[in-house]
Subunit: 508 residues, 2 copies
């Protein structure tokens, strides 16, 4: 692939190339407004060899753009803490809003290839990450992102001469890092790996290999790739992907019909079990801290089913330094203008921590579906996207637990009326709750479909009967403690080996 | 102070203490709603000895609270990157929104005392930070925050026995860090330093020293301090501070009247100087990168004065991996619900980076003053708060440059009309621009007052005549390059010594 790379001749003399560059520079600046008007988000991924001029290229690309509408993300040195999250998280974080641009100075290619060649990840983990990159790119495309992928290519000789040039000057010398020198030494291995990576990730969008030996040619080719991609997107309108075929290991999920809502505990049982399980959970929290296992707990359920009280009993024994409760309400404008999983990707627990989501990404296939906040293709596609999201978490070593807190409509009515009639509880009941209640059958259908389509072997749903709230609390605590207990006995954080090491000096 | 600490007896027997704790637990949960209704932001700072039970205490305090309305921030181990920002930044970051709670597991006390005793900062820098903490607390109070400061005290013997207990169990053993053991060894030095810190920072709010040897007493005292502070704030309403007396080293600032708007450059001069200065700036950017000098450049000016084009010429020679342009528009609801400097504190450049603010914190004393978006006390107080903010940046070693891009009303009118009449420029002109234009005299008064009151020796204003936009660009480039040149020749990053070291392996 790369070893027989021949730069395509753009057939221009110097003056004409310069004129063409200036024309496209203006064009890109003008496209910014059309992109804004069409609310299209654009990602320009700039990968390539060390010293190939990625920074320079980006700077030329943005030179006439309005800085209010783009952002540059740099990945060459990722904060150490990122190792404590699934590797894709850092690429979700800077996703542009609709109508804006993101330029990335290296990204998921460099991250995968570099760690693989450095043997920081195994070959098996590398393959898993390449698959994850394809899924990531497809999700971006299906959710309307324009992704332009550039690879800046230089020969080994050219790289050497650039390294030498940088090292001649005291002010630029420090830019040549040990990593750069090592890449130069391993040029052949990198060439093979870059080439293979591009072959494997051309599924959702082609790679543009730019002849980076010549600064002007490189720039022209970059402008061409970007402006053409935008032209085409502006013509075709925002892309909306359809649901792909599902090949997830589904359990055929639980059904609400099978729930036995008469289940209950006696006050004595409750008191005793609550104490016992909370103490057990406190001890387990120490263990998962130590073993650096991340835990995601997702609560969904009917209004007034008792989620809040349930979460409080679960959180009480946890060390507040090691858990977060994230309440999920309607998305803010910021969140609405991005991939709908963005606000969840960016709030994942670090390894060893617990995050409890009070409502979650399943809003996509419930409220957003029912209220029409997203299109039919969007929520139909979401089952697969959510399974992929949870798979990425589990592949990283995360424990994913999902609870549907369940009651019947009569119980809900009683609780609504109690709230209505108790002054200090009135704030808990709103008109929206009553409106949602009227849509109970619609929600029931959506919930059943969700349980069927997203109960995977790696992240199954648990229906928690909660007419007796105390029963529900004990049941959740029991599932959580059982799962964590099993995990600390068996768990190996996959992929990133050093994650399991004991912290040396400081606690966190 | 601490060495003769006598726990005050709460005069309760076990059963009554337990009942009182439960009463206050419920009370705090109820206060959450009043605090929400009154839109008061609450910060509970929990400082104290290692192993004194800070985490436990916080967990008990929040046990009945609604997790949607509080957050816990943990500082024991701060990400390394924080060393690359002024030290207060990390405490601004989690500031709660109006109506919400923030619990801090250690904070500015531990950060100062620990670094000082570890000799990571000099005695002089320590004193500067203590002053900065007082300023921070006053700014919080003046901007309506309720700050409750708790210190958890245990004796040396008690600490030893807790360390021993943790080390007995394999699952808790790792919680005892080298830092804890070192603190135990240096107990006396810490006791003196903690005591002195509390004496020096009792200006804007008292410290509550809690007898943490007894878990229940500690908890009761914590609940008491918090619920009383909230009761008092609910009674008195949101506090609005008045402007204090100014003792900043003011320059008596430039005046718009002294600007000579006929200044211009010839096309040849422009071309030549632009190239020369941009090349010089590119080289200087490498140097400040290497010396880890952070740079903040703030642009203010009349609508249509040419800020955008000016910024683009300044940014063009910069390495995009090392600078950001932050456009400042009306605050989002998120931002509006916090200290008005929050959105600037959280967007500062890391050491070695450049951040260009396209409009800035000076909105407080211009648009917010004129449109009445904040009260009179708020904008009058802001001159001092802004001087303090910039002082904190400069104390850290930041270069702060402030440009007022200046034109006369006639030039503005010409440019507005040109925009109106040129299809591809129409998006740049809005009704708001015309409305602002009508308020020219009001703005002029506000600008003059701003120039007078915030031109400090450490962060002076520069008026940039921009009737000839090319002249303005050259002038800004000249000031920036001159300032950076001087800085790289003289600069010592104060306080944090290791900041100046050369990066070892990776560039960033």
């Amino acid at each position: 692939m790369l070893h027989d790379f021949k730069p395509s001749d753009d057939g221009l003399d110097k003056a004409r190339r310069k004129a063409e560059i200036n024309r496209l520079r203006e064009k890109l600046a003008a496209q910014q407004q059309s992109v804004m008007a069409a609310k299209l988000p654009v990602i320009v991924l700039v990968e390539g060899w060390d010293c190939a001029g990625k920074g320079h290229l980006i700077n030329e690309l943005i030179s006439e753009m309005d800085p209010r509408f783009y952002r540059v993300a740099v990945y060459k040195r990722v904060p150490e803490n990122e190792e404590r999250y699934p590797f894709l998280r850092k690429f979700f974080e800077p996703l542009p809003e609709n109508g804006k641009f993101l330029f990335m100075d290296t990204g998921w290619m460099e991250d995968c290839v570099y760690k693989y060649l450095r043997r920081e990840i195994t070959a098996e983990e590398y393959e898993r990450r390449v698959d994850a990159c394809n899924i990531f790119e497809r999700q971006l495309r299906d959710n309307g992102y324009i992704v332009v992928k550039l690879f800046l290519h230089i020969s080994r000789e050219e790289q050497l001469s650039r390294i030498a040039e940088l090292r001649e000057n005291i002010d630029t010398e420090w830019r040549v890092t040990g990593d750069d020198l090592w890449q130069h030494k391993e040029y052949k291995a990198f060439r093979r790996a870059y080439g293979e990576f591009m072959e494997k990730t051309s599924v959702c969008g082609e790679w543009h290999v730019l002849d980076a030996g010549n600064r002007k040619k490189r720039l022209l080719a970059g402008f061409q790739a970007i402006t053409q991609a935008i032209d085409s997107a502006l013509q075709n309108g925002r892309y909306v992907g359809r649901a792909g075929k599902s090949d997830f290991p589904l359990l055929g999920g639980p059904s609400l019909r099978d729930a036995d809502l008469t289940r209950s505990v006696t006050p004595e049982e409750y008191k005793e079990e609550l104490k016992r399980l909370q103490e057990k959970l406190a001890a387990l929290h120490n263990k998962i801290y130590r073993k650096r296992i991340p835990v995601v707990i997702c609560y969904e359920g009917w209004d007034a089913a008792g989620k809040g009280g349930n979460i409080r009993r679960l959180a009480y024994p946890l060390d507040p330094r090691g858990f977060d409760v994230i309440p999920i309400a309607s998305p803010t404008p910021d969140e609405l203008a991005r991939h709908y999983l963005w606000r969840f990707w960016t709030r994942l627990p670090r390894s060893g921590h617990v995050t409890i989501f009070d409502r979650s990404w399943y809003g996509r296939v419930m409220v957003e579906r029912i209220e029409g906040y997203c299109g039919e293709n969007d929520w139909k596609r979401a089952y697969g996207e959510i399974n992929e999201f949870e798979k990425a978490l589990v592949d990283y070593g995360t424990i994913v637990l999902k609870f549907w807190i369940h009651i019947d409509p009569e119980t809900q009515l009683e609780r609504f009326e109690l709230r209505q009639n108790t002054p200090e509880k009135q704030w808990k009941i709103t008109d929206e709750d009553w409106r949602n209640r009227d849509k109970w059958p619609l929600y029931e259908t959506a919930v059943e479909e969700m349980l069927q389509k997203t109960s995977t072997v790696y992240a199954p749903w648990h229906i928690i009967e909660s007419v007796d709230k105390k029963y529900a609390r004990i049941r959740v605590l029991r599932i959580v403690t059982d799962t964590l207990e099993q995990a600390v006995n068996e768990h190996i954080t996959r992929g990133v080996k050093k994650e399991c090491a004991r912290p040396k000096k400081n606690r966190d």
